[in-house]
Symmetry: C2
């Protein structure tokens, strides 16, 4: 199907308007299990103005537009289910300013988190939000991503100060300022964070930076069973120990590391922890945590003092999804994302593990447990309908349980295609209100249609 | 003028529907200089359902509704400039749940911050957001309030997890959950925070709590001049010292304390600072800060180690506005609220002080300087038009300067009537987008009309 907007888009973008099948196929899927759907064309804008002009042309011809960052989404956010244009932001990957004295940076949306951190390293600064993948910052803002540092440094919600956004009708707006707080009206910045490109396309971000901590201690702390690991986490948070990271990996996930990446860890539920600060404060945190861990029967506390040991540790953690897939070569991961109040975390995890004990599928569990957030990567053969149905059954129980326990069906992966079915249960009439906001800002329903909000 | 909705509202509320002049007059103004305007009646709902029903009845009769908390707003937010109903939430002041194990509480909007903290004290918990006044939590959420602790614990934006909101058409929705993070769609919680009752009326809040720090050190640190005090603050923030509070009070404000409250402090620009944590970490923070302060010529560092000395210190700070007014008995305070990136704070404050040196008016300066936020209380005789014009001139220069320096005209007081004139300069086309959201959720324009958004 040819696009009505093809001629003006080609005139605007030249070779950056692509209709070839290989590129379209590459923009028809993300890293998860959702059915692919190709766009009719892919646009590669070079500037905010060009992005806005693409949206204006698409509005004029009623062409759907689905933004695409690094393609690492896990709920089908980038899949252009209604065809039209895939808007690939990867060429807009520049760092426009680093304001070291204000601990912020202004960047384009196609920049990835690792590229930003590589640039910041020599200045003694870092950007904290670290999902598993090397995602683009525009995509991370759009899914309200988080990662291992969120327990201390917050999610994208806390780490984006301001945005520039291209609206459905081609207007370009700025939201927020570089001031650290403001009461100047509706928080449009926060409205676009997590909107998955359904209200506008992010063309620039002002992100918060942090100074590299003076002293960092990381450690691996195995436990005899998962209840002990989770209860130690809960107490650590309740006691106010300001851990920078506290990650749970179950025995199945550790087995994945050992098999996939040459580690030789005890195959038992394990916490990876990290403490940041000045020296005496960190020593105090470590002592406090060790006491809690020992009270819960921890089997050890192996400190990774050197930077390279720490990097190896966290590289393993970030590659958990890929290591998990290594447990069943050729399998696809069906990934869940429950997040509950910390007091409900043991219940949520233990019931999940009990479900898994009754299931034929392998599903390693990892969690940003300090936030009450955990994932399964349920390993399935995507061609096997029975396995897919079993994964769906498990995932459904996890999502419903999270909502029942006062939490959310998605802590950090977003809604996309996969979690839309739970929005009504989680938000009630609030989901209809999301639809009303959607219609106000995108009355033609062209921005990432079929995602997040109710059908118009 | 009688209200069209009077009969059904009286039927619903009985004696809690009030048309007497004294009560109406009390609901016609806030603590600031804005011209009062009386509502036609005042409603005192007892429940969320009753609040929603009031809104439904007002929508049916096209009656404007202006929410009222404790009446301590500073930009005219509670003034019902188009008449109609003042919706006084003060009877809805219950604590519905304290979830100590999750560090959160569920409260009604009429509860004040001090009442909540009095309840929490014995549990070893506290709610951190502390504007000067004993404001209601619904009002604080609606203006996105902050205070002295925001530099460490965040503003209302970071400390409200979830809301229940009555919409213009009488629907009652819930936004957010008790989970600490979520990617489940548009962040409606953040949309209603700072919306000043123009999108809905908050009927319940889930707020974040904090454990009382084990160790607290507070101190008073005078400086030879304001540039030294500000530059010491900037470096403290840039070095990442996690101060819990860092408040600037200029020599005029200190004179106000000495005159009004019987203090005997050196009348020179002074920082009030506080450090929270475990013992060794706090000692480290204090040492780091003292070094920075001494490098900037600090004249002393008087520690208030006892809880009662600290309480006296912070009571003085919270009463700054009233102490400032004591400098000129009978005067009214015309309060400004600029917030800029920290690197621009010295420029913003020094230019402001230079303006004041040329002005006949007295205007003490206080600031939550760790956030880049500072206030003047310009003392005027409200009956003197020339003084009012001079205050407006000074305030105008401060607001424009803040926006020019990449900041905001209102860090924590909100827009209301007073800052509406700057919204276009600060947000550009973003202000129009706020109007589009307003029309989507309040198509009849009945919720706090005349505030925040552009005229319909």
């Amino acid at each position: 199907m040819a696009l009505d907007a093809a001629d003006p888009l080609r005139a605007l973008l030249g070779a950056r308007f692509v209709e070839g099948e290989a590129v379209r196929a590459q923009h028809g899927r993300d890293e998860a299990h959702h059915a692919p759907h190709m766009p009719d064309a892919v646009c590669f804008p070079d500037s905010a103005q060009e992005t806005a002009e693409i949206l204006r042309l698409c509005a004029a011809s009623r062409t759907p537009v689905t933004p695409f960052g690094a393609g690492t989404s896990l709920e089908g956010q980038v899949v252009p289910v209604r065809g039209g244009v895939s808007l690939d932001m990867s060429r807009m990957n520049r760092i426009l300013a680093v304001n070291a004295e204000d601990l912020d940076a202004v960047v384009q949306p196609g920049l990835t988190r690792m590229a930003l951190n590589a640039h910041l390293r020599d200045a003694g600064l870092f950007f904290s939000v670290d999902p598993g993948a090397d995602a683009s910052l525009g995509g991370m803002a759009s899914t309200r991503a988080s990662g291992t540092n969120a327990v201390r440094y917050g999610t994208m919600r806390e780490n984006v100060l301001a945005l520039q956004v291209a609206l459905a009708d081609g207007r370009l707006i700025r939201t927020g300022t570089r001031a650290r707080k403001s009461s100047a009206g509706y928080d449009l910045t926060k409205l676009f964070i997590g909107a998955e490109g359904t209200l506008g396309v992010i063309t620039e971000l002002t992100v918060r930076l942090w100074g590299q901590p003076e002293c960092v201690v990381a450690a691996v702390c195995p436990f005899p069973d998962i209840a002990a690991a989770v209860n130690a986490t809960i107490l650590t948070i309740q006691m106010g120990v300001p851990v920078a990271r506290i990650e749970l990996l179950d025995e199945v996930q550790i087995r994945g590391f050992n098999a996939h990446a040459g580690y030789a860890m005890a195959e038992t539920p394990t916490l990876f922890v990290e403490f940041h600060g000045a020296e005496a404060g960190v020593a105090e945190q470590v002592a406090r945590f060790r006491e809690i861990a020992e009270d819960h029967g921890a089997l050890g506390f192996e400190q990774a003092a050197q930077a390279e040991d720490r990097n190896r540790l966290w590289a393993a953690r970030h590659n958990a999804y890929y290591a998990a897939k290594g447990l069943r070569p050729g399998a696809q991961g069906y990934v869940t994302d429950a997040c509950v109040p910390i007091s409900k975390l043991a219940e949520a995890i233990l019931e999940t593990k009990a479900d898994l004990a009754q299931s034929p599928l392998i599903a390693p569990l990892v969690g940003h447990v300090g936030d009450g957030n955990f994932h399964l990567a349920i390993l399935i053969d995507p061609a096997d309908a029975a396995e897919k149905a079993e994964a769906e059954r498990l995932a459904h129980r996890i999502a419903e349980r999270a909502i029942r326990l006062g939490g959310t069906c998605t802590g950090e992966h977003g809604v996309g295609l996969g979690k839309r079915r739970y929005m009504s249960a989680e938000h009630g009439e609030g989901w209809a209100v999301m639809g009303e906001i959607k219609r106000a800002l995108d009355p033609l329903g062209l921005l990432n249609p079929g995602k997040l909000t109710p059908d118009a």
